[in-house]
Structures are given as C-alpha cells and as structure tokens.
C-alpha cells in the first residue's frame, strides 16, 4: 500500500491510496477506522493466503507421497478460531457505531441549509432566502442540511466530507458537517478548487450528471457571497439573471443552450421560431408561450418529447423571474 501511494497516478499526495483528502471534522475518524479495519483485514488475508500457498507447496502431490494422518476435528481449536475473531468484530462494531452517532448528531447552533434534490439538479436554500445550485458553506462552522426530494430518491454525497444521505420524497432527512479547510480564497469561483458533490442514489436518466460543486469560504467571504446571492437582480442585466435562474432552478438539466437534445428541447435559436406540438398544433415561441410552459408545462408538449417537465408555481419562480428567463432565451439567438 505504501508503495502504491507513491504512485502519483494512483493517489493524491495528501490522501491515502483509498481515500482522498479529509475535509470535515469527522473525516479523519472515518479514515482511521477504515485504516484499522484495513490493516487487520490485510493481516488475516495474508495469513489465510499465505497458509494456503504454503500448504499447496508443502503438501503438493508428488509420486510416492500420500496424505499423512492428522486429526479431523479439534474442538478447542475450532472454538478458539470462532470466538477470538469475534472480539475484533466487536471492536469494529463499537467504533463504527460511536463514530456514526457523532456523524449523525448535529450541534444545536448549526447553520441550516435546505437541500432540494430533483431530477437532475440540486437546489440549496439558505436561511436568508438565497438559493444556489452549487453548495456554498463557511469553514469551521457546523452546517446542518435538511434534505428533501421533489420526485424520486436521490442522495447527497460529498466524498471529501465522508458524508452521504438519501433525499426521500415525502420526508426530511438530515446530516451535518463542519468543513475544516477552505477550497480557495475570495468569492470568485475561479479562485477555488471545489469539492465534488454527487448524487449517489440512482434516479434515472441523468443520474450520473447530477453533479454539483462544494465551495468552502472564510467566514467573511461566505457572508459576502450570501449577500450577493440573495440579491439576484442587483448589478445584473435581466438576461444575466435569467441565465442564473436557468442554472439554479434546474432548467439546465433538461434544456441545453448549445443545440444538444436532452429530455427537453434546446433553447438555442428557439425564440421566435415555430414549435410543433404532440397534439398537432403549432405556435411561435414568445414570452407568453415561455410563461405558459413554465406554469403549465403539459398544456403544450413539443412533438418528440415526453411530458416530463415539472410545474413551477410562483413560489418557485416569480413573474419577474420568468421575464428574466425569457430575456435569457432571447439572448441565445
């Protein structure tokens, strides 16, 4: 293992062979338990395979050699090798269980973020109403996540934090985490090397593309980011806001802007052009059509697509937001 860890291809300099860097308060505990089980398993594995190979070589069937007499059972021995490993198992169990309890019990003063998973995007909602499609958190402060799903099962998995939990429709699950390192400096994403956040519960077509980033900031930077995120319209053109909403509200998971066909039609060059619908009718894409498609997606379904788009009520997208999105789509001509 040590030898392999030195191969740059196979492992990060700062993680082990098996784990990447540990970036939450409980990650080192998980890694330590992993290492403990790993070394004890490695010991037993080498023992078992070693004995096996030794016996094969030593007792290999050679001409003139037969089996030698030996006992066919030995209760003391057998009870010993059943009971002794059990002690190790109890140790693993207890360590796994105590670590788990601390992973599952958030401190009372934790900062709260709501996580809404849906096919196939993430929405993170902060206490001041700000929303984002990537996760932004402060360093050194416990954050509690309240997970929900709008459609099927999803799972929020951040390998760098060693944490994962299902998002189950119709119920809330929670986890918490305290990040120990920032991912970069300032609130400009380009200055960061964010962690991956994956969906780890199979959820249909774009399951493997349900990927977001986790940005960890200094406390001051986080507050600045939060402020900016809450005031969506300040200092942005309508089309820019529309683009943000397009990403945040998950339109991006089904509508491309480069012409590729996903679950829904691409927005590229679509404003002002005629669309054919499954019921045979036809209409030109204008502001009203965009509004209708968002508020009542099943009213007109473009031919060749399934009626899979969710409804966005005004609590999810205000009329102003819709105007911004329409401006954005217009700008793609």
């Amino acid at each position: 293992m040590n030898l392999l860890s030195n191969l740059p291809l196979l492992a990060d300099a700062d993680g082990g062979l098996f784990f990447g860097p540990a970036n939450s308060t409980f990650a080192p505990m998980v890694d330590d338990l992993f290492d403990l089980i790993y070394w004890i398993s490695a010991f037993f594995f080498v023992l078992i395979v070693g004995v096996m190979v030794y016996f094969v070589l030593k007792y290999y069937r050679r001409p003139g050699h037969g089996p030698q007499p030996s006992p066919t059972h030995n209760n003391t021995l057998e009870i010993a090798w059943s009971v002794l490993p059990s002690f190790l198992l109890v140790v693993f169990f207890v360590m796994g269980f105590t670590n788990y309890m601390s992973m599952r019990t958030p401190p009372d003063d934790a900062y709260e973020i709501h996580v809404q998973a849906k096919k196939w995007s993430w929405l993170f909602v902060y206490p001041n109403g700000a929303e984002s499609s990537d996760l932004h958190i402060p360093v050194g402060r416990p954050v509690r996540f309240i997970l929900e799903s709008e459609d099927v099962l999803h799972n929020m998995f951040v390998p760098a934090f060693r944490t994962k939990m299902d998002c189950v429709p119709g119920r809330y699950n929670e986890i918490w985490v305290e990040a120990v390192n920032t991912t970069g400096s300032g609130i400009n994403p380009d200055e960061h090397k964010p962690h991956d956040l994956f969906c780890a519960e199979y959820c249909g077509r774009d399951h493997s593309n349900m990927h977001a980033f986790v940005y960890v900031y200094e406390t001051g930077d986080f507050d600045a980011w939060l402020e900016k995120a809450a005031n969506l319209y300040e200092g942005r053109t309508m089309a820019e806001v529309g683009e943000l909403l397009y990403k945040r509200k998950g339109c991006i998971s089904c509508h491309s802007i480069d012409g590729t066909k996903k679950a829904g039609p691409s927005f590229k060059d679509s404003f002002g052009t005629a669309h054919k619908f499954t019921d045979g009718t036809e209409a030109v894409m204008d502001e009203n059509y965009i509004r209708e498609s968002i508020r009542d997606p099943r009213a007109k379904v473009v031919a060749g697509y399934q009626p899979v788009m969710p409804v966005f009520p005004s609590s999810r997208l205000s009329d102003k937001d819709i105007t911004a999105i329409a401006e954005f789509i217009k700008s793609l001509k």
Partner: protein
C-alpha cells in the same frame, strides 16, 4: 465397500468401461421430446445448465458493453438511457436468471439424488415444472428487454420504478415466476433430503454439499415469497395507482426497501451457501484428506441461513431509517461473518498434511478462497456504520459484491462444473487448458474489480454512465481486466465444450471421491443405481486406490477402517 461385495451392473461399468445404451441417461432415449418432457433429474439439470450458461453469456455481453462505455468517462457509444438499461439488465439477468439458480438448479439437480444414492428427487414432475417456470420467467425478461427495456436497476427502488416508462411490470412478472421456480426447487430438495437419505446416511454422514443445499433451500422457501408479494404490490401500484410505496399517493418508498432487502439479503446466501458446499467437497477430495471439522461446517451453513434473515437493514444505513435500527443491523451484520470465517479456517485445516493435487477444480477452489476472503473482509468495512456512510452506493460496493458473487459463487460454480463434468457427460477435459483459463479468469477478475475498491472509497458512485476525470485510470484498468476476464470465461467454458467432441472417456471415479455419485458409471445410467450403494463416511479416502488401467480410482477391499465423521 469392496469390489467383491457389490456385484452390480455399475461395478462392471466401473471396471471395464463397458456400457450398454440403456446404461447411459444421455442415450437412454432420444429425440427432442425425450428431453423436453423428461422427468429424469439429470436431464433437467442439464437443461438448466444450458439455460443458465446462455443467461450468463447474455449478462456477460451486457457487462462488457458497460465496461467498454466506461473507458473514457464521456459518451463513447451509449446514451445515458441506454447505459442505465444496460446495467439494469446486466444486474437483473445475472442475479435472477443466472446466479440464484446456478448451483442449486443446475448442479444440485444433477448431483443431489445421485449423492443420496437415489433414482431421482422426491417430486420429479414438480422438478420439471420448476424448470419450465424458469423458462417462462426468462421469457418475461426477454420480452421486457425487447419491448422497451428496463431502467430501474435490479433493485426496482420506488418511486422511480413506479414512474419510469420502461417495462417494469413485465420484468416483475418475470421475477415473480422465477421466484416460484426457486421455491419449488427448494421444497423439492428439502423433502428429498428429509425423506430419501439411504439407510446409514444419518444427518452427520451427509456430504457437506447436501448440507449447504439444504440450508439454501430453507432460505428459498422462506424468503422468496416476500419477493413475490413485493413484486405484486409494486405491479398493483403501477397498474392501479394504489399508494403503497409512492409518497405522491401516500405511500412510503423506504418500506419498499425493507421488503426488497428482506428477500434480497438472504438471497445473497442462496448464492453463496451452495458455493461453499462445493468448495468443501473439492478441498477434501483434492487434498485426499478427511474434511476438517465436519460438524462446524455443517452447523455454520445453518447459522448463515438463519442469521441471514436478520441483517437486511445494512443496505439502508443512509436511507433515513432510525439510528437505533442502523445500530442493531450493524451489530447483527458482523455476526454473520463468524460462520463464514469458520469455513475458511476449516478448509485450510483440511489441506494440512494432505496430498494436494492442482487439478482444475482445485485451482478454482483455491481461487475461491482467495477471492471470497477479499469479498468477505471488505464486507467488514460495509458493516461498520461510519465507514459504510462513505462506501455505500459507490464502486467499493460494486467490487465487494462482485468478489463475493462472481469471485465466490461463479468461481465455485465453474469449479463444480469441472469437477462433475466427467460424471455428467462421461468425458475428461484437457487439464492444462482448464488450468490455464482458470489462471486467466483469476488474473482478469482481480484486474477488473480490485481498482474498483480504490475508486469507490475515493468517492466514485455506482450506476454512473459518466464520471469525473479523477477516476479514469481506475476505470481503464477495470475495463482491460474485464476483457481479459471475458476471454478467460469463454475459454473455460470452451475447454469443457471441446471435451464433448474430443475428450477421453471418463472412468466412474476420476478424482477418487467417496461420495455416492462416483459409485455409478460416468455418465450415470438412467436410474442411477440398481441397488442403493453402501454408505460410508463421505470423506474417508483410505479405501480408494488409483487404477492405471481404469484411469480412475477403484475401491479396494481392506480392513473396514473406523473413522469418525466429525
């Protein structure tokens, strides 16, 4: 027993290799109908074998397509939709059509009655019925594949499975019918073992393969109905919109997971227990040693079967089930590892001071110990709560279950197939070719699945058509391994098929085993035995001697040695 004391027809065959047409179940009658309507457990076993190998081939093609697509991490030749269908079908075909029935239905069917010195199983018609249920189930699966596919994963998790437009109902009907096939097989075996053990074969004189099949049958009988009912509920939910599992309709998606794993975790033991049974036979025979700790091995099969019912919740540590439940399930999970560990230690002790032959079946048995040990030990990481949080639903799990199911069950199945092949078809395969492909399978297997432990622990989730660049190197190693493994598997089966045309004629007892199936000619006569053969200690090899002229082992008269069976 001694040569002189049993003047039966099979003894004649044993010594001269002379066989009349009626002496051979393969030739006893001919024509397609004589196979399709046969009540002979051996022919039913052979038909299962063909079906299972075809399923394995199909599942294997799907696997290679998956692995090829995963070479780059971006789109190569499958869309996301196609990839999702492909992994679902691969998993579903491998699990339901191949691995669950593989050892019990194919090898078990052939071997069990002969091992008991009997003419057939207790209910031959039910046995044929089980086979046709398997066929019908397989047809449902094929229909699901052809008419729209299936993309739920083999686990059918709700609410996705309630909402997807793919052929969930067809596939579930398939699972339902296959379940009955499995239940009937289990029932048949239980009754056969309970009522038809020959005079002198007490429970503790029974070969360990039969113990393992018995334990398996108990699980098949008790767990499978839960799967059937769960499938029906899901069908009802999809077709009639009853809210059982879908929260939109007031149901609970986590309930489905409880139902599903209440079957599917014990099902893992349906897969692995018979494999352990085979390994017990192989290690003893090819070491020419009495199996060590017979009773511990027998009891551990039963312990695994019973404990297996108590651990399903370890698939749901991150589902939001209560923390108390998680802790209890974690504790119970660890308890199952003890009986499995016992078996490994006993196999090693059996080899001690033996005379070990590296015939192909033994090579598979050794590969099994190596791979199954890795599979079992990596289960410890998944049983411990804190580490499972990181590893759940990643490639670590994919690697773990492939080490257990493929490295364990499949390898034991192939080892068992090589072992009983001479008995089944009356021909010997080429040993060197057999060993060579065993080695290729072993190397290919490790190259395929070992890198998956690493990438999984580092965070690569499973069921991903695309992935971030960090994981590419592991995926590429894995894909190369998969193709090597594919070559190995095709070769291993090829060696056996080739022997049907070119193989030397097999003696009655090529390996010097002392279980009863080796006491009739190879292949067995239609009725197996005219008179029940005498029963002794199945692991006492002291009265067997290699006979040059025969090319196999014969029983020599000698002082009836008294050996204890435990």
């Amino acid at each position: 027993m001694s040569v002189g004391s049993t003047p039966d027809k099979f003894q004649a065959a044993n010594l001269d290799g002379a066989q009349t047409r009626e002496d051979n179940y393969l030739l006893a009658s001919s024509g397609v109908g004589s196979w399709l309507f046969t009540l002979d457990h051996k022919r039913i076993g052979v038909m299962y074998l063909v079906g299972i190998l075809v399923s394995f081939f199909l599942g294997g093609i799907f696997a290679l397509i998956l692995r090829a697509e995963l070479f780059t991490g971006t789109k190569l030749f499958l869309t996301e939709d196609q990839y999702n269908q492909m992994f679902t079908l691969h998993g579903a075909v491998m699990t339901f059509l191949f691995i669950i029935p593989s050892i019990p239905a194919a090898l078990g069917n052939f071997v069990l009655p002969v091992m008991l010195g009997q003419k057939d199983v207790a209910f031959p018609r039910m046995n044929l019925g089980s086979f046709y249920l398997w066929v019908v189930g397989a047809i449902f699966f094929l229909c699901a594949i052809i008419f729209g596919g299936l993309d739920t994963g083999w686990t059918f998790y709700t609410p996705y499975s309630v909402t997807t437009s793919t052929r969930v109902i067809l596939a579930l009907l398939g699972v339902f019918v296959l379940g009955f096939s499995s239940i009937f097989t289990g029932l048949n075996f239980i009754v056969t073992i309970n009522t038809m053990r020959p005079h002198g074969m007490t429970w503790f004189k029974m070969p360990l393969f039969l113990w393992s099949i018995y334990a398996t049958s108990i699980i098949q009988l008790l767990a499978t109905p839960v799967l059937g009912i769960t499938g029906l509920l899901l069908i009802a939910e999809r077709a009639l919109h009853i809210g059982i599992f879908d929260p939109e309709m007031g149901g609970d998606p986590v309930l489905f997971q409880h139902f599903f794993w209440f079957y599917s975790h014990p099902a893992v033991y349906i897969m692995i227990l018979p494999a352990m049974g085979i390994i017990s036979e192989l290690i003893a025979v090819f070491s020419r040693k009495h199996i060590f700790g017979y009773r511990f091995i027998a009891y551990s099969s039963i312990a695994i079967a019973l404990l297996g019912f108590l651990v399903w919740g370890h698939h749901m540590f991150v589902s939001g089930q209560s923390q108390l439940a998680a802790v209890v399930f974690s504790g119970l999970t660890f308890s199952v590892s003890i009986p499995s560990a016992i078996k490994v230690f006993n196999w090693l002790a059996t080899m001690y001071k033996g005379s070990i032959s590296l015939a192909t079946p033994m090579c598979y048995a050794l590969a099994f110990i190596f791979l199954f040990t890795i599979g079992g030990l990596t289960g410890l990481f998944l049983g411990a709560l804190a580490t499972d949080i990181q590893l759940h639903d990643t490639y670590f799990v994919v690697a773990h279950f492939h080490y257990v199911m493929m490295g364990g069950t499949l390898v034991a199945f192939v080892g068992g197939l090589y072992y009983w092949w001479p008995k089944m078809f009356g021909v010997m395969y080429n040993e060197n070719a057999g060993r060579l492909f065993c080695l290729i399978v072993f190397l290919g297997f490790n190259l395929t699945f070992f890198p998956q432990f690493i990438m999984g622990a580092r965070g690569m989730p499973r069921r991903y058509a695309r992935y971030v660049e960090e994981f590419q190197i592991y995926h590429q190693l894995s894909t190369l391994g998969a193709f090597l493994l594919g070559i190995g598997m095709v070769g291993a089966i090829g060696v056996l098929l080739y022997s049907l045309y070119r193989g030397k004629k097999a003696p009655a007892n090529p390996w010097g085993a002392n279980t009863l199936e080796w006491m009739c000619s190879s292949p067995p006569p239609l009725a197996n035995f005219d008179n029940p053969p005498p029963v002794g200690d199945p692991y006492d090899y002291s009265n067997l001697r290699y006979d040059e002229r025969e090319g196999g082992y014969v029983t020599v008269p000698g002082p009836a040695k008294k050996t204890s069976s435990h």
